[in-house]
Symmetry: C2
């Protein structure tokens, strides 16, 4: 079986890491770059990894999608705050069979993609369980984890199962030494990832703290736990909309499990904290606004998530004003 041709839209920490893995596994990968273009075109990409550093001295770097060929899979790895650019960015590289895989944070991204992609386009979502930051031009520091959950999106929000196309994409990542788990219910996996992202991304900005500092404070730890429980409840009710009496069940134990994991992690600045520290827009709608609206549609009460949303919107607004 030959591997597919990929385009990485947004070569930051996530796009750089997983794109490098795909190429290392033998796939043809085209990287879209902006400020790093010159550096990457000349020197390639480097991943400084806990699992051993690796480098790709030569990659197919592009300043624009106009110079890319049509690809089999487009990987969206830019910040969700820039998703308005996607229709224009993707038009040169979409063939009739091209699939979209979003590796972006948050919730409801696939719904937004589906809204302008037409009914027949295959859309996949990937959840990157990874601590990684871009630390310089073409250079990603991979701190911890790295596994990838892949699932297929269905417009009716039912579990999509595992298609041969999903299997094939998973195989390309595995060839690049990524631990891949295929999931039949992408929306459930998205909720599951929010169990971590909702408390720690937002609180790291509002409380100005690393994961280690948050876990060391008994009140922040308790608050993180309460936020996690709200996510579980929202997921459950969201699932009951499509399968009454059943829900999208996430076992209560994952709360204690994730807290324990976070406690053992090296001190970590979350992606939202890094965005904040670097003066970039925060992904408030993807990580908070969309899940809150889904919770409201399912009549789940998420008051603490709402409060965090309001605080983050105010912080994001203040920052955008002070920078403008």
């Amino acid at each position: 079986m030959t591997s597919r041709r990929y385009a990485i839209i947004g070569t930051g920490a996530v796009g750089g890491y997983y794109g490098t893995c795909l190429q290392r596994g033998g796939a043809e990968v085209h990287f879209l770059l902006h400020s790093d273009y010159d550096h990457v075109a000349q020197y390639g990409l480097v991943v400084e990894s806990v699992a051993g550093d690796f480098a790709l001295p030569q990659v197919q770097a592009h300043r624009s999608t106009a110079t890319m060929p049509t690809v089999d899979v487009v990987i969206a790895a830019l910040k969700t705050t820039h998703n308005g650019l996607l229709p224009e960015l993707l038009s040169p590289i979409l063939g009739p069979e091209t699939a979209i895989l979003t590796l972006q944070n948050g919730f409801g991204i696939e719904d937004e993609l589906a809204a302008w992609m037409g009914a027949d386009r295959a859309i996949f979502g990937g959840l990157c369980i990874i601590c990684a930051n871009k630390v310089g031009p073409g250079t990603v520091r991979h701190i911890d984890y790295g596994n990838l959950l892949l699932g297929q999106y269905r417009r009716d929000r039912q579990p999509a199962g595992i298609s041969p196309q999903l299997e094939a994409i998973g195989q390309d990542f595995r060839a690049g030494q990524v631990a891949v788990e295929l999931v039949s219910d992408l929306r459930l996996a998205r909720w599951r990832k929010l169990v971590w992202n909702i408390p720690f991304n937002g609180l790291s900005v509002v409380m100005n703290a690393t994961t280690t500092e948050m876990m060391a404070d008994p009140n922040i730890r308790q608050l993180a736990e309460q936020l996690m429980v709200e996510v579980l409840e929202a997921a459950q009710r969201d699932g009951e909309l499509i399968s009454p009496g059943q829900g999208r069940h996430l076992p209560k134990e994952i709360v204690a499990h994730m807290l324990a994991h976070t406690e053992q992690m090296a001190p970590y600045r979350t992606s939202m904290k890094i965005d904040f520290d670097e003066g970039r827009p925060l992904e408030v709608e993807a990580i908070y606004g969309n899940p809150i609206r889904a919770a409201q549609a399912a009549e789940a009460a998420v008051p603490k998530i709402e409060m965090l949303y309001h605080q983050l919107k105010a912080i994001d607004r203040r920052q955008s004003k002070s920078l403008s």
Copy 2:
């Protein structure tokens, strides 16, 4: 009718302002001072007021309650975080008939005083509707408002009505040109004041903002409103514990009313924000912990107040660590 003899325990913004008013009205007032003692003993007290500046060149200043006579009314006006000192501070000045009036912020302070004062001691509470800050030794800047709600505490939490003793104390303040309102249900008045204090004190610290900045942000404004509604609900349920089916009713309109007032106020740093900026302990238990416990006892859900409590506890803990 002769006026009573007062001791002001804690001559900060509140103690300084209202003590000065009492003396101006003809009462005998003894001021307990700490760092400002030398200055005040020599120059007296000054209030720079929106209603016209006034000064008392001579006051009865004390370094210790040991030099004070027994008084008719002790006014507790120190930060609630120092209330552990009160039993020792008050012992030299308490006669058998001495009453206590706490002008402190928050909730449940009278319960704490009652716990060590014995069953017969009259305890009053005063709610200071005032924007005032201490701006220098013996100098209070009075920015806005200034009225005082006075009520009597009852150990069974029933409304105490308006006793002759309460009337007499109110008269002493009125003589000093304070607009006094006597309230029959002190606990209801405390809840009412929390409707403002709970959103704006806490959010001013967590969001690092003045009242004007908070009101100008649509998300913070909405969050303030939601916090206010939680306080109304808690007050209602708290009242139902003592008068089932009735509750401690605060009309919904006060939310819009307080928001509009806050919008029109001069930009104001809340008392908690000033404490934070000056590295002092925050009154988190008085303003948040005690009301939350009362709400829980009454089975009222106050999730956003709880979240603010956790955030403030963490901020207070971090500050106390960085200063120690």
